[in-house]
């Protein structure tokens, strides 16, 4: 069951690397949040109730509903329906994405042999999700896509953190979530500002500062 959920999570990233409608990204983000929630539910036996409550809040409420909804309102207000032509075309980026997944599985095999306390598939897929998010950030031009891919990077990291048995102190957990939340909020504010001030909200307009 866990394995299927993890593979599904990986597949969402493949989907993202082949679409260009911005709303599809947001829906994928919400789907990832929900998959992470299911993953938390599957592994629920090993955790303390306080941690479970917090994780349910983080995945189901924040990652599945609040952040995607918030970003959707930002997108609708700024009328940015589509990604503009990326640096590398959809076909090749899908090819590169598959390559990254192969690397993820290699990483999983490697992790299994190092003897650390690690669930290999979690490790491999989360590494793949992180690398793919970074690749998408480099490849896509719209700033809103960058924000969405940052969230996917965070989801990849969250998946990795689920594979560790040790629980972080609650104070730290709350701090991490708060940081994430404020970061997304500030991203949206500055995205709006860039949209207002510059002609179009993609990174090619940000070239004033250089040596």
């Amino acid at each position: 069951m866990t394995d299927i959920l993890i593979i599904l999570l990986g597949t969402t990233m493949l989907y993202v690397s082949s679409v260009s409608r911005i709303e599809a990204y947001v829906k994928t983000l919400a789907a990832q949040g929900f998959l992470l929630f299911l993953l938390v539910m599957v592994g629920v036996k090993e955790m303390s109730w306080l941690n479970i409550a917090f994780l349910v809040f983080e995945t189901l409420i924040v990652k599945t509903v609040v952040i995607p909804y918030f970003l959707l309102t930002v997108i609708r207000r700024n009328e940015t329906p589509r990604e503009i032509e990326p640096y590398i075309s959809q076909f090749y980026s899908l090819l590169i994405a598959s390559g990254i997944f192969v690397f993820g599985f290699v990483a999983a095999f490697w992790a299994a042999r190092t003897g650390g306390n690690i669930k290999p598939l979690y490790f491999g897929i989360s590494i793949a999700i992180m690398m793919l998010s970074l690749f998408l950030i480099v490849n896509r031009k719209r700033i809103i896509t960058h924000i969405l891919c940052y969230m996917m990077l965070e989801n990849g990291i969250f998946l990795l953190s689920l594979s560790v048995a040790n629980e972080l102190p609650m104070l730290v957990n709350i701090g991490v979530l708060l940081d994430l939340f404020v970061a997304i909020y500030l991203f949206a504010i500055f995205f709006n500002k860039i949209n207002e001030i510059y002609d179009g909200s993609h990174v090619d307009v940000l070239t004033e500062l250089k040596d």
């Binding site: 940052y150 965070e154 940081d179 970061a183 940000l206 004033e208 500062l209 040596d211």
Partner: protein
């Protein structure tokens, strides 16, 4: 103590934000700055004062290296606060704008204090991210088009970097499963039990994450933009304290590797990035056209020197600590002075500034003196730290690296010197000497910082020497107890 520096400044900030009165603003800003200095002194003297419940105190503590970085931050912040008064009047800010500035700057400083005092690696991460978020608003304070671009690059690059640092924290807890805690004291005590493969992997991730905030090459892209576009007092705070607090994060992780006897791995990374930073700053120093960006590249260079000092191990550590102190003070002085120049000439271009010594002699002389301080002309202490680093290369039997190091430093000095002298001398374009006279708060902080540096350079007070040696011993492999100086 912890209550005083973590909570009280925030309360001050909120009060000044709510009151929106000029007097309350000044009391809040200068009061918080004084508070930081007093707390640093009291901790040094061993005066203990607990207000918070014990379960919360576990997460914050003054240890010997933390106290050193805190003291540097407190002094720099005090200088910046005094300078901010002249920034307010020169830019004709109204009481509301002032209070926004003060709330943001206090939140930023509290976040940095959190980084310095945190006893848990994950908590340190939380505060490092908090410094990014709070300082982003400050960089955009002047609300110009170019500062928006700088802010976006800063907040986005640093957030990605910090996200990768969290991967480092997770991989560390995978490798240290038997320890089951991310408190530094536990990690240091049981460092040898951590799986070395995962430890190295986690160092790599943490280095990328925290190194992005330090602004070391090749992950320094945000630094020149943010430093040049922020208001000058904020640039000073970014360069003089923010880079240090992220550097402290790397040092704390380095201690784990030292205790686990894996420092050969981290030292190579530190040396490589250190030299790369020197190379990058040497190249850009020769072609940069904006004097605030020039100062930012000088920060890249100096952080590189600190990394090299740490990477050299035991012989270079004292030099790295001295460099930290001296760089913070002299770079703060430079950035604050650049604010005066910007106000008087209205441009950031080097070629448009001439005759500074004629137009505004006080600023001109401080500008020259701060330049001498940052490149390390005796009696300024950067001379000592650079000399110690070159000596450390010889002690380690890497004399050829010392030659390379020297070469880079000469190039940087040449590039920076050319610009600084060009700005200082020549025709001012305005009749009469001393036609511009800034308010006393616009040059007093720099004079005090430079005087302190001269004292440290000529005859280092025992207090400073002891603080630097203890901080250096904390990072070195000599097994020192995880002692705290005093207080909590």
């Amino acid at each position: 103590m912890i209550t005083l520096v973590i909570i009280l400044p925030l309360v001050f900030g909120v009060i000044s934000f709510a009151a929106k009165s000029r007097i309350v603003n000044r009391v809040a800003l200068l009061g918080s700055a004084a508070l930081f200095v007093v707390v640093a002194l009291m901790v040094w003297l061993g005066i203990d004062w607990r207000w918070l419940p014990d379960w919360l105190l576990v997460y914050f503590r003054f240890d010997c290296i933390g106290l050193f970085f805190f003291a540097v931050m407190a002094i720099v912040f005090a200088g910046v606060s005094v300078y901010s008064l002249s920034y307010f009047s020169e830019h004709n800010l109204n009481a509301r704008q002032e209070s926004v500035y003060i709330l943001e700057i206090l939140a930023f400083v509290v976040a940095m204090a959190g980084v310095i005092l945190a006893t848990n690696l994950a908590l340190l991460w939380v505060f490092v991210e908090a410094t990014t978020l709070t300082s982003a608003l400050l960089i955009y304070f002047e609300k110009k088009k170019s500062s928006l671009e700088a802010t976006w690059k800063y907040i986005y690059i640093c957030s990605i970097g910090i996200a990768l640092a969290f991967v480092g924290i997770i991989t560390l807890s995978i490798g240290s499963e038997r320890i089951g805690s991310l408190f530094f004291s536990d990690l240091y005590l049981h460092a040898s039990e951590i799986n070395p493969v995962w430890l190295k992997l986690s160092f790599a991730f943490l280095f990328v994450g925290l190194g992005t905030k330090v602004g070391v090459a090749p992950i320094h892209a945000w630094l020149p933009d943010a430093h040049s576009e922020a208001p000058s007092p904020v640039s000073a705070l970014l360069s003089g304290t923010l880079l240090n607090s992220a550097f402290l994060g790397i040092l704390r992780v380095q201690v784990i590797l030292v205790r686990a006897d894996q420092q050969a791995f981290s030292n190579i990374i530190l040396l490589l990035t250190g030299f790369l930073s020197l190379l990058v700053s040497a190249v850009y120093m020769l072609r940069v056209k904006n004097y605030k960006r020039m100062l930012a590249y000088s920060s890249v260079e100096n952080m590189g020197i600190m990394f090299i000092g740490v990477g050299l191990g035991q012989p270079g550590l004292f030099a790295a600590m001295l460099q930290t102190l001296a760089h913070s003070f002299s770079k703060t002085s430079l950035f604050l002075t650049s604010g005066n120049i910007l106000h008087s000439y209205g441009t950031k271009k080097i070629e448009d500034v001439q005759g500074l010594l004629k137009r505004d002699p006080v600023t001109g002389w401080i500008w020259m003196a701060s330049f001498l301080a940052i490149i390390g002309i005796p009696p300024f202490p950067i001379f000592i730290s650079k000399f110690f680093i070159i000596r450390a290369f010889w002690v380690n039997g890497q004399g050829w690296l010392a030659v390379l190091f020297f070469l880079f430093i000469v190039v940087v000095t040449f590039g920076m010197g050319k610009a600084v002298f060009r700005m200082a001398f020549g025709d001012s374009g305005i009749e009469g000497a001393g036609s511009v006279r800034p308010a006393s708060s616009a040059y007093l902080p720099q004079i005090v910082l430079l005087a302190a540096l001269v004292i440290v350079g000529i005859n280092m007070p025992n207090l400073v020497n002891e603080m630097l040696s203890k901080a250096a011993a904390f990072v070195s492999s000599v097994p020192a107890p995880v002692a705290r100086v005093a207080g909590r």
